[in-house]
């Protein structure tokens, strides 16, 4: 039962442009959402999060948007840089619940 889905396995954008990564979830009980970035041969690293009481959270070049009615969240990276090339996972859970549910990931390639 895949409760968190990332339907785009890959995304390629030009340096300086916006990258938009999407994520859908099915469980309306989820109230905390996270994005992780993963480079090859490294573990995932936390990028940004949002709780269900917000619809937007911003941290530098990274912004996460949450649409609870559509059960959809997205990560915007502006401007995209070649160093952003990595696999991005979205995850969802109940706040402070250890059982995070991850999507399958989207491989982002930012071309110089």
């Amino acid at each position: 039962d895949q409760q968190v889905k990332q339907n785009s396995p890959s995304l390629s954008v030009q340096e300086g442009r916006i990258s938009i990564l999407n994520c859908d979830y099915t469980n309306s009980m989820f109230d905390y959402f996270l994005w992780y970035k993963k480079y090859p041969a490294e573990g995932p690293t936390f990028l940004i999060s949002i709780s269900s009481i917000k619809d937007k959270n911003e941290d530098g070049r990274f912004t996460v948007f949450l649409n609870k009615s559509a059960k959809h969240l997205s990560l915007h990276i502006v401007p995209s840089q070649p160093g952003d090339s990595a696999v991005y996972f979205c995850a969802a859970s109940l706040i402070n619940n250890n059982d995070m549910r991850f999507g399958a990931g989207t491989r982002l390639t930012v071309k110089p």
């Binding site: 573990g43 690293t45 402070n96």
Partner: protein
């Protein structure tokens, strides 16, 4: 300051065997979680250890067991290996007092191949 370390890096076993994977948490961390990441999928939560006890468990059979030592390091044991157990096993550590899912630090993982 060393981050989360895991050993071994790679491991090959045959069906029916048993395997033990090891994790040393980031310095100052006292909570360890284990995840399984199958090829082409996201990580799946196996269980979490705190104060040497399993605190929460995901949807994994009893063949998966763990242990946490007084120095906070942890082991993941898998018995009666199946082909489907082939995956990257990730360990994540955190500090209980500041615990939230976004304060977990992941190790690089152990790649287990079951033949």
């Amino acid at each position: 300051d060393a981050g989360v370390t895991q050993s071994p890096t790679h491991l090959i076993k045959t069906r029916g065997q048993q395997v033990t994977l090891r994790c040393s948490p980031k310095s100052g961390h006292d909570t360890v979680s284990w995840y399984q990441q199958a090829l082409g999928q996201g990580p799946q939560f196996i269980f979490q250890y705190y104060e040497e006890e399993e605190r929460q468990r995901g949807n994994f059979p009893d063949r998966f067991s763990g242990h946490q030592f007084p120095n906070y390091s942890s082991e993941l044991n898998v018995n009666a290996l199946l082909l489907g157990d082939s995956a990257l096993y990730l360990c994540a550590s955190s500090f209980e007092r500041t615990y939230s899912t976004d304060t977990q630090y992941f190790g690089p993982g152990t790649r287990l191949t079951v033949l």
